[in-house]
């Protein structure tokens, strides 16, 4: 912070004619600032209500009786808190099976993404080789391809391989890296000094060893970010399971919820209970691991 005296000096140098030596100028200025801060705070508080009210509405609706859901006008607070709605919802469809299925897919996708992308990104960041820049340009260019352009021929490929109605199409591609994660991890690897790698090489360490013993431990925060984004992506994935899974025993939570929607029509209390249960793990992870989400965003924008 600069003191008012210093400010005066700057202003005189800049040659403005503003009468800032008059103390009332600063007082007026300070009040204006306080006023703006108050408006800022009020806007943020009002906005938070808009952000949070849908989530409150989901919880509130999930606890109502069907009669109360249908009553007009709708109520903001449930007359009675029917927690049993959650048990009924869980038992109305094979949600336990869906959860296990989703966890299997999600775990494999997270492992695949972390291992492959960390490995690939090390190559792009820390090993100088011919053709590296060209290859990395292609990595970035693939981000521009609309998903459906590859989705349809990929389906043909997986269908010919007999992979429809298996988890392979959802899991196997995760082990071959993805542009966004490679980009994210490469950004992070760039912050590791090359001298460290060179020193290890002088000691006779191979790149595999350096990746395992130096690369992986030093990029832990970025790996956590990739793991969380991957978890989120796989947990929320709807398109993949919709396309490849026809057998009800293989359904994931997202597909289960969609089927549930078709069966229940407008029984909003159960539908909201189901939705909240499916969203809950993501909400919990968000509150525990916020800093990794934010780190991912910062890496994305090219900051540190």
């Amino acid at each position: 912070m600069t003191s008012p005296q210093e400010d005066t000096r700057y202003v005189e140098e800049a040659g403005t004619t503003r009468d800032i030596k008059n103390p009332s100028y600063f007082e007026h200025h300070g009040n204006r600032k306080k006023m703006l801060k108050l408006i800022n705070f009020v806007l943020l508080a009002a906005g938070s209500l808009m952000i949070l009210s849908p989530l409150w509405w989901m919880l509130s609706t999930s606890l109502k009786t069907m009669a109360e859901v249908m009553s007009f006008p709708p109520t903001f607070f449930p007359e009675s808190w029917n927690w049993s709605n959650y048990i009924r919802t869980w038992e109305a469809a094979p949600f336990t099976q869906y959860t296990i299925n989703t966890l299997v897919i999600t775990t494999l996708v997270v492992i695949g993404n972390v291992l492959s992308n960390s490995f690939i990104a090390y190559g792009f960041a820390k090993i100088p080789f011919r053709g590296r820049n060209l290859l990395f340009a292609i990595v970035l260019a693939t981000m521009m391809i609309p998903g459906f352009v590859t989705l349809i021929p990929q389906y043909v490929l997986f269908a010919k391989l007999g992979w429809v109605n298996t988890y392979y199409p959802l899991v196997v591609p995760a082990f071959f890296g993805s542009a966004f994660n490679i980009f994210l991890l490469r950004q992070f690897y760039m912050t590791i000094p090359n001298e460290l790698i060179e020193a290890a090489k002088m000691e006779g360490a191979s790149h595999f060893y350096i990746w395992r013993k130096i690369g992986l431990p030093l990029t832990k925060p970025a790996i956590a970010t990739v793991a969380i984004f991957s978890f989120n992506g796989a947990w929320n994935d709807f398109l993949g399971p919709l396309l490849y899974l026809n057998d009800e025993n293989l359904y994931t939570l997202q597909i289960g919820l969609q089927v549930f929607k078709g069966q229940l029509n407008t029984q909003w209390n159960y539908l909201m209970a189901g939705s909240l249960l499916v969203l809950l793990p993501v909400i919990i992870i968000f509150f525990f691991f916020q800093k990794y989400f934010i780190q991912g965003i910062n890496l994305q924008s090219g900051g540190k």
Binding site: L44, P54, W57, F76, I152, F175, F176, L257
Partner: protein, 304 residues
Amino acid sequence: MAKTKSAMRRKETMYGYIFVMPWIVGFLAFTAGPLLFSLFASFTNYNITSQMDFVGAENYQGLFTEDGLFWTSLWNTLYYVLFSVPLTTIGAIFLSALLNQDVPGIRVFRTLYYLPAVLSGVGVYLLWMQLLDPGTGMINLILGWFGIDGPNWLFDPAWTKPSLIFMKLWSVGGAMLLYLASMQGVSKTLYEAAEIDGANTFRQFFHITLPMITPVIFFDVVTSLIGGFQIFQEAYVMSSNGEGGPANSLLFYNLYMWRQAFENFNMGYAMAMSWILFIIVFILTMINLKLAPRWVHYEGGDNR
């Protein structure tokens, strides 16, 4: 000595390719191969099981001249992109400007506003179907408090697309964080200098903050444009039976492509559609890149 050096370099190149090999294999198998196949198949009447005869440009011609639904879906998608991209961009910038101030509880505010951005999938779509329900939903209840007779949202063809745009605005926090990170990187001395020159908060925002974050605005516009053209899941889940109704008002480009590919098994036709989308997205991205130097401000020497 020169010999050992080139031997070293060769060894590095070998290692480099070993590390990026998973990506190369994945790229060939899941991206490049499918792309080539799709380009070829878009000139055939491929239906995945029995036929694959070369039909020339018939698919493309049919789309442009005989298929009304193609134009409907393209129009719906353009409508969505045209409104959602500017609104979410402006919303995110405005929000991050509010969240870049030093007011009480700012960390809590930032967390709250970001939360909806990590929530996605069927659970969120079901929540918004309930919120927007004309009789039992929260939105029309609140509008009613202000004497506004809310529309029928997802049941009125004129309001279905605005419904999805509102839902999108709820999760504007993702882009907000991107802008916030960039705003926090703007040098404090710029603001101090402007303050002394007597520039008020609004002038400071438009003459310092906004120009300094143009690289992030550019990144956000490019990615959300590409993303906007690919809207699919929302429309699939939130229209009854995934048909894109009422009155085809939610029949987005990808939804129509999905129906052609996986319901009618007109694979060749659908792949032709996907290439038209690719070309549209490509041209728009190129236009963006061409226009960028006119308004994107890069700090000299800082190659972020």
